[in-house]
């Protein structure tokens, strides 16, 4: 028995307290997130007791869900559907209304062992789990799923025959940095992942949806329908099972009657997703009774809906709507100019007046539901007089022109053009003449992905996202070599701190590193956090048990209609 297993046994048997367990685990170099997994050897939390169940929930979504293949589908919108049908190996408890971050719970594993060198993760899988097609969930199924999305040529190996290049591309940002070198079946319910180097966020990242998804599909379904077509016949282990999809009209799921965990089974009889591209039509559909839950309403309709008796749920999540300043524009090379910009944007008023309280003014480049988020950390208060003074000191007292690139719409973008106009209006007050340049979403992310260096003359661009894994998210946004860093500049000290963070398995210490990076950004002002979306969900009064997600993925298992 390993030291970790001995510790687990002692804790399970009640021989040591929780505090002693956590302390001993920390000495073994096990992170709190991993401890979460270890603790998860106990049964997952059940659902809050409620009197009702049943009914049909019709959800109005902002658009068509992507393909229902958890290894290919991208975006929070698609994850709402995927995570009802499929489950990952490691998950987050998204239906605990009190949990700030969505704590890590076992998905399809009982527990995870980590070797002392932090290179070998041994996943002990749950017994008795079956896919919705009746085939068993086991170690071979896990191996099949990982090999389907892991491009082994990156580590000089040959890909499995079932490797799917589309999945390989969308999931490469997990398997590439994690340095996965092998996945081995130890026995029917044990799988071993071996990494080339310690990757502190390995378990955290596995809980992600979208490009980090480790959701497990039925290998039998993939073999039957093929990689391209299986998305039209999705089979997982989740609380809902697929019934039908009519493109452009709806996706219908129903409760999985043989769900492996009765304590967390779904309450609804049916869950229907309807894509409605127009935000105004989504709200009208709620008012006419055709749907009973709406995603992404226009901010200015929320108060009116509340006044008409429609409950509106809002909650903090990892989203950050932020702007990046270009290191390649002469005026912005001076930190005083960047600070002047930071303190001249009235974020509070934007949140209250323009966005009608559906967002909070952002204070940090950490999402509010990230573990490392520091609630006491504050961004520059609104002070245009000080901003003007700083500009004058920097020699730009007469102001200057700046180009601001922005999408017209997009995933999590709220209402980007009016928000950019608000920023432009604020900056005009200190003499900076902002010219907006708008793009349609895909054209925009193409520009954004190439980076500000390739966009000469552009001073500001914008993005709205964030990750629940603190260091992982900062790595994407701040590492000078990251493909997701639109500035692609080396901020003094940040790359080294990120590297240190990757070696730090003590969560508390790692979070301090994240906070240091946040403080450096505040000092040097390269990214400016603007608002955190509260993602309002108006719903019909007959919808009960809805728990707003603190993450990106909405879990519908607690909901019932009646």
């Amino acid at each position: 028995m390993t030291e970790t297993e001995q510790l687990m046994e002692a804790f399970k048997a009640g021989r040591i307290s929780r505090r002693a367990f956590l302390g001993a685990a920390a000495k073994l170099g096990i992170s709190a997130s991993l401890m979460g997994s270890l603790l998860a050897a106990f049964p997952e939390p059940g659902l809050a007791k409620s009197t009702g169940r049943g009914g049909t929930l019709v959800v109005a979504m902002e658009g068509e869900a992507d393909v229902l293949d958890p290894h290919v589908g991208v975006g929070a919108l698609t994850d709402r559907v995927l995570f009802a049908i499929f489950e990952p190996l490691i998950a987050r408890d998204l239906v605990d209304p009190r949990g700030r971050t969505g704590k890590i719970i076992p998905g399809l594993v009982q527990k995870v062992d980590l070797s002392s060198d932090h290179l070998v993760y041994t996943f002990h899988l749950k017994h008795g789990v079956k896919f919705q097609d009746g085939t068993p969930f086991d170690a071979e199924a896990v191996k099949f799923n990982i090999e389907r999305q892991w491009d082994q040529t990156m580590v000089g190996k040959k890909n499995a025959p079932w490797f799917y290049p589309k999945a390989g591309a969308t999931r490469s940002w997990v398997w590439q940095p994690s340095g996965l070198t092998s996945i081995d079946v130890v026995d029917a319910h044990t799988v071993r992942f071996t990494l080339a180097h310690p990757f502190v966020e390995f378990l955290n990242v596995m809980t992600n949806g979208g490009p980090g998804s480790t959701c497990i599909m039925s290998p039998a379904s993939v073999k039957k329908w093929g990689n391209e077509n299986v998305a039209n016949h999705p089979v997982g282990t989740g609380p809902f099972r697929f019934v039908d999809r009519v493109w452009g009209s709806h996706i219908t799921l129903e409760r999985n009657p043989s769900y492996w965990n009765p304590a967390r089974s779904a309450k609804l009889d049916q869950l229907i997703f309807r894509p409605i591209a127009s935000a105004a039509s989504r709200v009208l559909a709620l008012q006419s009774g055709e749907v009973n839950l709406v995603f992404a309403p226009e901010p200015n309709t929320v108060a009116q809906l509340k006044a008409s008796g429609y409950p509106v749920s809002m909650r903090e999540n990892p989203a950050i709507w932020f702007i990046s300043l270009s290191p390649y524009v002469k005026e912005l090379e001076d930190v005083r100019v960047r600070r002047a910009i930071a303190m001249s944007i009235d974020r509070q008023s934007m949140a209250k007046e323009l966005l009608k309280g559906t967002v909070l003014a952002a204070e940090s480049m950490q999402g509010r539901t990230c573990a490392a988020y520091d609630p006491s950390f504050r961004w520059y208060p609104y002070n245009p007089a000080e901003g003007r003074k700083l500009l004058k000191e920097a020699g730009y007292g007469k102001g200057f022109d700046l180009v601001f690139e922005i999408p017209t719409t997009g995933s999590g973008e709220i209402i980007p053009v009016p928000m950019a106009e608000w920023i432009a209006r604020d900056l005009a007050k200190i003499g900076i003449n902002v010219k907006l340049r708008t793009y349609e979403w895909i054209a925009y992310i193409t520009h954004w992905g190439r980076g500000l260096k390739e966009d000469p003359g552009v001073g500001i661009n914008q993005m709205s996202w964030g990750g629940q894994s603190s260091l992982w998210w900062l790595n994407l946004d701040f590492l000078s070599t990251s493909g997701f860093n639109t500035r692609k500049n080396r901020i003094p000290g940040v790359d080294a701190l990120l590297a240190e963070g990757e070696r730090t398995f003590d969560d508390a210490k790692r979070w301090m590193i994240c906070r240091k990076i946040d403080a450096i950004n505040k000092e040097l002002v390269w990214d400016i956090p603007i608002v955190n979306d509260l993602a309002p969900n108006p719903m019909a009064p007959n919808v009960h048990g809805f728990v707003h997600t603190p993450g990106w993925i909405q879990d519908f298992r607690t909901v019932w209609v009646g």
Binding site: W173, W247, R274, S278, S281, L284, G289, E290, W441
Partner: protein
């Protein structure tokens, strides 16, 4: 007549080919491709982007991509949708069917109301009806379709609750009357502009014809007003057929707004989503179908014109 029809049909082939080249080139001009659309911000990972582009064949020269697409088309294969992971033909067939239903209903409303308004207004120029009808036509022709659609939705679906708010059918139902209930509002919204255009054109054509000497001759021979108008209307049919054909193409291609507002799963909504997803195969096929509808309706209009106007024979 047959020779004329065959000749016109043959001339559509180069038109369609030209349209396909144009669309293909236009799609190359706009930034971003299907790989970026599928990866989202993850396209910032160069390895992922390269892998996806390779898989989708987007790393090949543009000319090669086009020829491959054309080769498939010749064999009746419209390609595979990158967004839907399905053959384009299957997706498009369903959407075209849905759009044709909307088109037929809108055209029916446009022709009936447009012609009626035009003829009645022309028969009493300057009357109260004429003034109200022409003012209404001006408003309808100027009203943005999505705005009108939302207004109709709010009043009839939310306020009065007499018509459903979206889609083609109530979930779980596929009855004819259910379809008709869902069709009324989008068909009205789509028909608004064509009604106004046809109404104004028929009115002005009728007025022009009614001032011709032969109409005066008919009147002096003691024919009733109805008979005179029936004679006059035959001469208005030619420009009416032409404008109806043009409006049919317009309605089919521009039903996007209606389809987005009413969530009608037709080609408008399909091409909107395909453009956002840079789903080249779907965009190509949809534009071809829209062009085909334009060409077919204009061909039909030419044939009808020849049939009803002896001078054209």
């Amino acid at each position: 007549m047959l020779a004329y029809a065959v000749k016109r049909t043959v001339t559509t082939v180069p038109i369609m080919l030209g349209v396909s080249v144009l669309v293909f080139l236009l799609m190359q001009l706009i930034p971003g491709n299907a790989a970026v659309a599928m990866l989202g911000p993850a396209a910032g990972n160069p390895h992922a982007l390269a892998q996806m582009e390779r898989y989708l064949g987007l790393n090949r020269p543009i000319a090669v991509q086009y020829l491959i697409w054309l080769g498939h088309l010749v064999h009746g294969n419209l390609g595979q949708s990158t967004e839907y992971s399905q053959p384009v033909a299957g997706i498009l067939a369903q959407r075209v069917h849905n759009s044709l239903i909307l088109l037929a209903a809108s055209l029916l409303l446009s022709i009936v109301f447009g012609v009626l308004i035009g003829v009645v207004s022309a028969s009493r120029p300057g009357s109260v009806f004429d003034r109200i009808a022409m003012s209404a036509c001006l408003v309808l022709a100027s009203a943005p379709t999505f705005w009108l659609g939302l207004l109709l939705l709010w009043f009839f679906a939310v306020h009065l609750r007499v018509f459903p708010e979206m889609g083609m059918y109530t979930l779980g139902q596929h009855g004819f009357f259910d379809l008709i209930r869902h069709l009324v509002l989008p068909a009205l919204a789509t028909a608004a502009i064509p009604i106004a255009v046809i109404g104004r054109l028929v009115r002005s054509s009728m007025l022009e014809v009614l001032s011709q000497p032969y109409v005066l001759a008919l009147r002096t021979r003691g024919l009733s007003t109805l008979r005179v108008h029936m004679h006059a209307f035959r001469n208005v049919l030619v420009p009416t057929v032409n404008i109806v054909a043009l409006q049919a193409g317009f309605v089919f291609g521009s039903a996007l707004y209606t389809e987005v507002v009413f969530n009608w799963p037709g080609v408008g909504l399909l091409i909107y989503n395909a453009l956002l997803a840079r789903d080249l195969a779907v965009v190509q096929a949809t534009v071809l179908v829209i062009s085909l509808v334009f060409v077919v309706f204009n061909l039909a209009a030419d044939l009808v014109r020849v049939a009803i106007d002896p001078r054209e024979r």
